[in-house]
């Protein structure tokens, strides 16, 4: 086989793997694939409605844009870039740590530089494809309402995907060189988790500190932002201009993205092999030392709880996920702090944010403790009835949520007792709902599958998300329109009841 043929053969292999991985992520098991695909298409069609609500009013935008529109459009594109960067960092890390075929590839008689160039290209393709998929409803709405010129937005997504992948590779390799392979994994996971959210949160924090509102648009449309913005011909506005249909700028952006990715390939592909070798050798080095002198005295349930807490504390992925959940809490916490000196009505927004975050965090923790048991045989063969083992694990979720959210609720109590009481109730109900959903849909899995826990049951994922949103809305309405809260609470409870009804409900 010629070198070019071997490369195209490997490229096809990479694309096939990426496609199957994506399909498995989206549809779960092979048996339900057709039904899941129909569901996905229906979901994508439905997404056009919220897309219209969010972006429909911008369809008439034309160049030259006023400065605040230009800032908002550019910030939105930058947010998309940050999210793609986060996904790309995660993909690059996975290439080194989770791909089972590295040994095979590195022991094969092929030029590793070429192979890793293709792997980098495959990452760029999968990141861009995912972004294209997610942006399609929004661009469709703009095209339908504003004309074919908006089709250029797809090109911007591609350019953004290429540059995000290039930066992700440079960042990851730089981390390898700076802090070594063991720490890179943790740092890259945390970076991937917080980068996308970080931008939105930073805007919210700025808005709260300057204007006392959670709206990030307050900063973007402010006079201060306009004063600091560069002139209309600046390259900063190129993505926004390209999205509006400026073909020349779009071609320049695409060319820039390709050149950047090509440069990264040329610079880093030869080093990929070294990096992969240092990762595999770091895995075989001795684990971290945890020294404690004496065994603890306690009941069987206490032993289980202790084990769960130690594993949660020592799990870097979970630490990064929790960190992200906690980052989401920074804006409401700041709003809370501001409201001590300012009687802003925006404080009402704090309750739903806290309730929503509690539901989401509880869902993840419940999956880890209930489904993500790495030694199921050991726990199952222990002389302990299931009726005792499961509550011990659930208690861990409740205690962890309590530790994270109690300080916020107490701070809220200093501002408004009634609001604190409603928020506390919302946190408890959202936590119990998310935990119950995980219990009804529990599937034995390894903790390392946490990232893909959604694939085991789409229904459980949606039910968990809807119940968190539902209880968050109920908490907000309870403070503003109590009667409406009754309706919202009843709908959320009905969703949960329906979820329970169709769940496997073992024993």
């Amino acid at each position: 086989m010629s070198s070019a043929a071997a490369l195209s053969w490997f490229a096809r292999h990479e694309i096939r793997l990426a496609w199957r991985e994506w399909l498995a992520l989206m549809t779960g098991s092979r048996r339900r694939r057709n039904r899941a695909m129909i569901g996905l298409i229906a979901f994508a069609a439905l997404m056009h409605l919220p897309a219209y609500a969010v972006i429909g009013r911008f369809a008439d935008l034309k160049t030259p844009l006023d400065q605040s529109s230009l800032i908002i459009l550019s910030a939105t594109i930058f947010l998309a870039w940050a999210l793609m960067l986060s996904q790309a960092i995660e993909s690059v890390t996975r290439v080194f740590y989770a791909r089972a075929d590295l040994d095979l590839i590195m022991s094969s008689p092929v030029r590793l530089t070429n192979i890793f160039s293709i792997r980098i290209a495959a990452i760029a393709m999968s990141v861009t494809a995912m972004a294209l998929l997610l942006s399609t409803p929004f661009v469709d709405v703009l095209v339908i309402a504003g004309g074919a010129r908006w089709l250029a937005a797809f090109g911007v997504v591609v350019a953004v995907g290429l540059s995000a992948t290039a930066v992700a590779i440079a960042v990851t390799i730089a981390l390898f060189r700076l802090i070594g392979p063991v720490r890179t994994r943790l740092v890259a996971q945390i970076l991937a988790a917080v980068i996308g959210a970080g931008f939105v949160i930073a805007l919210q924090v700025a808005a709260i500190l300057s204007y006392g509102t959670l709206s990030r648009f307050a900063v973007l449309t402010s006079d201060t932002a306009a004063a600091f913005a560069p002139g209309p011909d600046s390259m900063v506005w190129w993505p926004a201009r390209a999205a509006l249909g400026d073909t020349e700028v779009l071609l320049l952006l695409l060319a820039g993205g390709l050149v950047l990715l090509g440069a990264v390939m040329a610079m880093f592909s030869p080093r990929f092999a070294d990096t992969a070798v240092s990762v595999s050798s770091s895995v075989t080095t001795a684990g971290r030392i945890s020294r404690r002198r004496t065994f603890r005295m306690g009941s069987r349930q206490q032993a289980l709880r202790w084990k769960e807490f130690v594993l949660l504390r020592r799990d870097p992925w979970l630490v990064s996920q929790s960190l992200m959940q906690l980052l989401y809490l920074v804006p409401p916490a700041l709003l809370l702090w501001r409201s001590f000196s300012d009687s802003s009505t925006a404080i009402v927004l704090v309750a739903p944010v806290i309730v929503m975050a509690a539901g989401q965090l509880a869902g993840g923790l419940a999956w880890l403790t209930i489904s993500g048991e790495d030694a199921p045989d050991l726990v199952e063969t222990a002389p302990m009835p299931r009726a005792q083992a499961r509550p011990a694990k659930i208690e861990v979720v409740l205690i962890a949520i309590g530790i994270v959210f109690a300080p916020l609720v107490m701070a809220l109590a200093l501002v408004s007792l009634i609001q604190a009481a409603i928020t506390a109730l919302g946190v408890v109900v959202a936590t119990v709902s998310a935990t119950a959903t995980q219990l009804w849909f529990r599937v034995q899995a390894s903790r390392s599958q946490f990232r893909r826990r959604q694939t085991s049951s789409r229904l459980a994922t949606f039910a968990e998300a809807f119940s968190s949103i539902g209880w968050a809305a109920t908490a907000a309405l309870a403070l503003a329109i109590p009667l409406a809260a009754l309706v919202s609470g009843a709908i959320t409870a009905a969703i949960l009841a329906a979820t329970w009804k169709i769940s496997p409900r073992r024993d």
């Binding site: 895995v283 684990g287 971290r288 945890s290 603890r296 084990k307 594993l311 045989d377 222990a382 302990m384």
Partner: protein, 250 residues
């Protein structure tokens, strides 16, 4: 418990998945015996032992462990039993000592007893230098040894092992075999499945051969040879002959 009671008594044990995996199996293992359960892949060995360990619910039949009805009172049965699977399932983020502390806690063993026992077990398996290292960097052999130490730390009277020597190097395998024989000498019962027939030949007091979910032969090595009609036959030859005959009959 009566003095002549068996460590394990299985009667009419049945489990079906797509096809019968275990078919009305009768099996008795005596107290203080080293019993090797052999059989080809898919014969029903692991399914049988998983039902005995309480990991699978049988469709029919009864299981008694040291006189305790394991289906009626699983907690009492589990208290005296340990299970080790072929894939060592331990926690990557715990150290071997922490893992054993957790197991001892699950079995409700007093720390004053379990701590010295844990340290002794880990030392006897050559894991002393790694007592405080997290298991995430351990080889499969080391993980298997940690799992085995976990199974022994609560001093079980019946130990069930499913292919415990898979992936172990010669020295580790010798450590494990030595430890198991020590336990048998002190009155513990061991039931083990293995594909390494030489291990069964050397270590087992009695051997059971299972095929298509049924026990097709059982006895000491000598008894099996006599039944085969030749005293110089190896266990491997007898095993192949038995399994072939069962396949033809099926």
């Amino acid at each position: 418990m009566k003095p002549n009671e068996s460590a394990l008594q299985v009667r009419g044990l049945t489990k079906r998945f797509d096809r019968p995996a275990v078919d009305a199996l009768d099996l008795t293992v005596r107290i203080g015996e080293f019993y090797a359960l052999l059989g080809p892949n898919g014969a029903g060995k692991t399914t049988t032992l998983r039902m005995v360990a309480g990991l699978l619910r049988p469709d029919a039949g009864s299981i008694a462990i040291l006189g305790v009805d394991a289906l009626r009172d699983p907690v009492a049965a589990k208290q005296v039993m340990a299970w080790v699977s072929d894939e060592p399932m331990i926690y990557d983020k715990l150290t071997p000592l922490e893992y054993l502390e957790f197991v001892a806690g699950l079995w409700g063993i007093d720390p004053a007893v379990s701590q010295p026992s844990a340290q002794g077990l880990l030392a006897s398996l050559g894991l002393e230098p790694h007592l405080h290292e997290r298991c995430e960097g351990f080889s499969k052999g080391m993980r298997q040894k940690v799992a085995l130490a976990g199974a022994l730390v609560h001093d079980p009277r019946l130990i069930i092992l499913d292919e415990p020597l898979t992936g172990l190097d010669a020295l580790s395998a010798r450590h494990v075999k030595g430890l198991l024989q020590e336990r048998v000498h002190s009155g513990c019962t061991v039931i083990m499945t293995t594909h390494i027939l030489e291990v069964a030949e050397r270590m087992a007091d009695r051997i059971g051969v299972i095929a298509s979910g049924r026990l097709v032969a059982e006895g000491t090595l000598g008894e099996l040879r006599r039944r085969n009609g030749r005293d110089d036959t190896s266990l491997e030859e007898m095993f192949i002959a038995l399994v072939d005959a069962e396949t033809v009959a099926a």
